[in-house]
């Protein structure tokens, strides 16, 4: 088991954001979280990556508790978080963004990994000295993924990676995620596009009002009439 989250509770100013969410991400698998807006999906990712601290509950990475660690220590432990809205450093170049992705790394393979990102997304390599803010949405998402990869994570978390992209770009990004899975990266992704998420996921969780309401293999959920009614229209 790569990641286990147990009974997470969290509230903001009296509003309960997480109400006992539990989930498990197995090694090498892809887990999808689906749910409506404000269901608490992003909050789960932020709790895992250390941006937020759950009031109660436990998060373990390979058996080691990480819920009390600050974000930089969580990353060092091997969890990278590719945030919603991409959040690139718009004033910096592609290369600087990638270097920031590998900020914690002191090993000699940073350059090699950067070359690998450029292989994965040739457009980034061509424009490596340009400022990230000048890129299109799809290119920005590629850079965001590349940046997350630079940390060589054991677990990679995506928050709405296809949001606001053209259908072609969505295809492209999902293909990339599939490719990463095939290369052995463990993935936890939040998607509003439930169909896409569940197609890709080995296992899915449906989150509603801060609770896990359903879970099961991706294909099972896809077949479930309640899921179809609520999230697939």
């Amino acid at each position: 088991m790569t990641l286990v989250a147990e009974r997470l509770f969290m509230s903001f100013g009296g509003l309960l954001a997480l109400d006992g969410v539990s989930l498990t991400v197995p090694d090498g698998g892809v887990v999808g979280l689906i749910g409506t807006n404000g269901a608490g999906k992003s909050t789960v990712l932020k709790a895992v990556s250390g941006l937020l601290r759950p009031h109660r509950g436990e998060i373990r990475l390979r058996g080691r508790p990480i819920h009390h660690l600050p974000a930089h220590a969580v990353l060092a432990a091997g969890v990278a978080h590719c945030p919603e809205g991409r959040r690139l450093f718009a004033g910096m170049t592609v290369e600087e963004n990638l270097r920031l992705g590998g900020h914690l790394r002191r090993d000699r393979h940073v350059a090699k990994d950067m070359a690998r990102v450029y292989d994965l997304f040739p457009v980034l390599g061509e424009r490596r000295t340009q400022r990230a803010g000048l890129f299109s949405g799809g290119e920005q998402q590629m850079l965001a993924i590349g940046r997350a990869l630079m940390a060589r994570p054991a677990l990679l978390m995506f928050d709405e990676p296809t949001m606001g992209l053209s259908p072609i770009m969505i295809r492209r990004i999902l293909d990339t995620i599939a490719l990463l899975r095939n290369q052995g990266t463990t993935i936890l992704m939040v998607e509003q596009n439930a169909l896409a998420a569940l197609m890709l996921a080995d296992h899915g969780y449906v989150i509603d009002l801060g609770r896990t309401t359903m879970s099961g293999p991706g294909t099972d959920l896809l077949a479930d009439p309640r899921v179809r009614a609520a999230y697939l229209g």
């Binding site: 903001f12 937020l52 759950p54 009031h55």
Partner: protein, 515 residues
């Protein structure tokens, strides 16, 4: 404008999984405090003289009798046995112990009881229970009124005791400073205990429900202050100075606390009101001069507020700082012959009403009472303005701007107009206060309006609690009483003051009265 980085950190409360601690755990700490209270406080013979030579140290002269600080410690030690009170009582005892250890150390004497009490206090703080205060039901009106009267009477007593603690003269009571700080420690403990049991929030909720009644009683209590031990000409003078700054701070609270516009040059409006009134003092009567001061300050408030249409956030703060500096320099250079420059404007007559000079004593009341009464009314008036605005349409517009200006505009708030209105109201109130300031002091010079005064006012608003009605009053009292009381420490006075600012922000970053 971007939100501050510091706010992006998780805004979570501390995990509260801890089991409630049993009450008996506070017993050892309480026992130590009691032991400390009853033990002699010096173990060494005082150098340079026989032991009785320091008989004025009242905590030496009767080691086993219950007097002064010893009583305070006994009370705190007993209170510490109550489960919720132990942390606050421990803090109070620790403060008292620290003050006395330091005082004795300054005399070159080792303290014996001090460390014992300090250890007890630390133990209480460490082991005491932390949990949210209980909530109490509000009583019926028949019960509420007497309770409020009693509460305000207690407040009056506390204010008077705080002012007079340690006495007035350093020469005749050389350890007055230590007495005052020690009393402050007791007050901290008492305040904390009341708050731990939810009494304070209960009282303030009660006062909020019966607002009109509370304000009347509060006003009456304020007017009774001269009848207490604090009823000397000196404390009347200090209290009316505090009142003037409090009224100004309340005006600033509208600008900063309600509308969220940081103003670093606010004291200029106090100055404009004061100079206007000073120039008119020999020409027209006080009410007219005061009105003129308020109007002129208000108009200049609009001028200063105008950049708010273009400039936001901290940049606005810098613009106001610049305006404040420009005012200061202009006043220093006697611009237009209006400020007297280096010579200031002397000889401003005291306010007279029905032939009664405000600086003269009336009846058995101390001199300065009339100014005190006037400033109490001024403060009450500005508080009423603030309270009414806060709950008005304009007030809601300000709060919306404070939270997020863009959203406010999207919601249809006319932000430009609202912001300028905030400056107008704030400046007018300060101008009014300035007019009283001029007459009370009798002389107005540019030195009274420098940057550090603006900063002090701002500190009053923030320390008291932004946007709250009593906050500015509490803050102003603290900022002007504390240096006055700390006079006993001459050289260390401002140092202690700086330290106090840091500590208050450290432990109550939302201010003493937070909404």
């Amino acid at each position: 404008m971007t939100s501050s980085f510091v706010r992006d950190r998780p805004v979570t409360e501390a995990p509260s999984r801890r089991e409630p601690r049993p009450a008996w755990r506070s017993a050892p700490g309480a026992a130590l405090v009691l032991l400390g209270a009853l033990s002699p406080w010096a173990s060494a013979v005082i150098p340079g003289g026989a032991y009785p030579g320091l008989a004025t140290l009242q905590f030496f002269d009767a080691p086993y009798l219950v007097t002064g600080f010893r009583l305070h410690l006994l009370l705190l030690g007993l209170a510490a046995l109550l489960p919720r009170a132990s942390r606050a009582a421990g803090a109070g005892a620790a403060v008292i112990a620290l003050v006395h250890i330091a005082f004795l150390a300054a005399l070159g004497v080792l303290s014996f009881g001090g460390p014992v009490t300090l250890a007890g206090g630390a133990l209480l703080i460490w082991l005491g229970r932390r949990e949210p205060a209980p909530e109490w039901k509000l009583p019926s009106r028949a019960l509420a009124w007497p309770i409020l009267v009693a509460a305000f009477a207690a407040l009056l007593w506390a204010v008077s005791a705080m002012l007079t603690a340690g006495g007035q003269s350093r020469a005749t009571n050389p350890h007055g400073g230590a007495e005052f700080l020690s009393f402050l420690g007791f007050a901290v403990g008492l305040f904390g205990i009341l708050s731990a049991y939810g009494v304070l929030s209960w009282l303030s909720a009660l006062a909020e429900r019966h607002r009109a009644f509370s304000l009347t009683v509060l006003l009456a209590c304020a007017m009774l202050l001269p009848l207490t031990e604090a009823g000397t000409g000196y404390w009347m003078t200090v209290a009316s100075t505090i009142g003037i700054y409090a009224a100004t701070a309340i005006g600033l609270n509208i600008v900063v606390g309600l509308a969220g516009l940081l103003d670093l040059g606010y004291v200029a409006f106090l100055g404009i009101g004061a100079f206007t009134a000073a120039n008119l003092a020999h020409v027209v009567s006080f009410p007219v001069a005061a009105l003129a001061g308020a109007v002129v300050a208000g108009l200049l408030g609009v001028v200063v507020g105008a950049p708010t249409l273009r400039v936001r956030g901290d940049y606005l703060a810098i613009v106001t700082l610049a305006f404040g500096e420009i005012f200061f320099r202009a006043a220093q250079n006697d611009i237009g012959g209006l400020t007297g420059g280096a010579n200031s404007i002397p000889g401003i007559p005291p306010i007279t009403l029905f032939g009664q000079g405000f600086d003269q004593p009336v009846g058995g009341l101390p001199a300065g009472f009339l100014y005190y009464a006037l400033t109490v009314l001024l403060v009450a008036g500005t508080m009423a303005v603030l309270a009414n605005l806060k709950h008005s349409r304009t007030g809601r517009a300000w709060l919306a701007i404070r939270e997020d200006e863009d959203v406010a505009r999207a919601m249809g708030v006319r932000t430009g107009r609202a912001k300028i209105l905030a400056f107008l109201v704030g400046a007018t109130l300060a101008g009014l206060a300035g007019a009283v300031f001029a007459h009370k002091l009798g002389t107005v010079g540019y030195e009274s309006f420098d940057f550090s005064e603006s900063v002090t006012l701002l500190a009053a608003v923030i320390l008291g609690g932004m946007g709250t009605v009593p906050g500015a009053l509490v803050g102003a009292s603290l900022l002007f009483v504390l240096p006055e009381k700390l006079r006993e420490f001459s050289d260390y006075r401002l140092m202690l003051f700086g330290l106090a600012l840091i500590l208050i922000m450290r432990f109550r970053p939302k201010g003493l009265v937070s909404s």
